[in-house]
Symmetry: C2
Subunit: 274 residues, 2 copies
């Protein structure tokens, strides 16, 4: 999917919501555990109830790998279900990968070709030749970690590197890489005050913004400082939506939470006249 | 496995060789493709032929994920085969993971509990709360990326952060984290000249050193600057060993390459009187 198509979907649905499918078997309704594939059953119900309210889904691979083969199978079924039934939905493998060149190529094949995701999150620590193999895939996006939503972001990301914070160095440097037009960036909603400066470096890039909801980020601040002419934002909520209820009403409860966010996003789009 | 047990194995086998099991179906002998599980068949043959010459195996998860469910199954079979038949061998999941706290816990469970690896490689970009969930597992090790073997290491890792190179900041800072005694570090063999300074910061830690062989690192230099009283080195070779031959002799050819390295390591242990 191109970013233009993504922007079109956002305007059509009046939503730039991404729903994180981080399925923890200890947190889903107990009765689902009787299903042959509880993880997929949970995801399917969430997708069926919320797909008209969001433009993207983001399974975090950790939650699938933790269940071994069954987990990987549930991830495959989930992405296949999305691609078959909702091809207009943007899909993100939140995998935070990155390795030397030939190995990154294998990861890129895993997520873009074998699983058929539109994008994958990648860590920048190993530099250019660890990221370019992902960028080489046409019509796919590489979402580079820039400034993450957690407290640990202050350990290295905000430290001054040759006079400029590391996350800014990552933004500036990555713009020079081959096929950098395929880049998006992760910026935590808990760091909204940084967004104005980030937009000076990457005015046109889409930003994936986690941290609204359970982690305490503010939607209005993110829009104020982060929205651009193409909207340029995907705001993710995971736990705040998918675990809204733990009984039979979980999918409707999730839809209600998603709708709350979508209504706020609609208001923001109106405020910014998009 | 404790580091003391690992050191004992190194002294017993006169080897600190780690063999990287990075299986690419385009590079293994053609006749193996007829097997039900070619990846495991290849790994099993390599392990059977080389286990007496090395102290560790390191599957890189990218090469398994690229083949989807079949790949993940082959990874499971490989680690189970190692744990059942060679419990004295140290195992490393080269996964380069790292995420916010609750997510890193899921990754740690995946590799330490579900798959039963002794250790996992982790990227430091997201800081303390992304790494400590891995460190919380007793008798397991977290191998943090410090200075990697690729060219991209110079993009960020060697840049000066508040007057000290980023990889040194990673070493210094990580020492203050909870259960930091469970840390090891990745330092590329292609950066051997940096090892003397690295040893000043982490004199006692084990270092996982890739890059000897295909990537051009020098074994003698790594030992000169990197060896400590507990040896403290695991030197990895992947392609240089496992793809030594592409015909029926591949396992013996791999053993020959492994033996060449083991003999060099024996000489180094003698030179340093270990």
């Amino acid at each position: 999917m191109t970013t233009q198509q993504l922007t079109n979907q956002i305007k059509k649905k009046q939503s730039f919501l991404c729903i994180g499918l981080d399925v923890d078997l200890n947190k889903i309704p107990k009765y689902l555990l009787k299903e042959e594939d509880p993880i997929f059953a949970f995801n399917k119900a969430i997708i069926d109830a919320t797909h008209h309210l969001c433009v993207a889904y983001k399974p975090n691979t950790a939650f699938y790998e933790a269940y071994g083969l069954k987990g990987w199978k549930a991830l495959e079924k989930t992405i296949n279900y999305l691609n078959e039934n909702h091809p207009e939905i943007y899909t993100i493998a939140d995998a935070k990968r990155g390795d030397i060149g030939n190995t990154s190529t294998m990861y890129a094949k895993a997520f873009f070709e074998d699983l058929g995701f539109d994008s994958v999150t990648v860590a920048p620590y190993m530099g250019k030749d660890s990221v370019e193999p992902f960028l080489a895939f046409e019509d796919k996006h590489t979402i580079l970690l820039a400034l993450t939503s957690n407290q640990g972001a202050f350990d290295f990301q905000t430290k001054s590197v040759d006079g400029i914070e590391l996350y800014k160095q990552v933004l500036e440097t990555s713009k020079t890489w081959k096929s950098s037009e395929n880049l998006m960036y992760v910026v935590g909603a808990t760091k909204a005050e940084y967004l104005a400066n980030i937009r000076k470096i990457v005015p046109d890039s889409f930003l994936l913004v986690p941290g609204v909801g359970a982690q305490g980020g503010n939607l209005q601040d993110v829009c104020k400082y982060g929205m651009n002419d193409s909207i340029g934002l995907l705001i993710n909520s995971s736990r705040g939506i998918i675990y809204a209820s733990q009984d039979e009403t979980f999918a409707q409860a999730a839809a209600k939470k998603a709708e709350d966010l979508q209504m706020q996003m609609k208001a923001e789009l109106k405020r910014h006249s998009k």
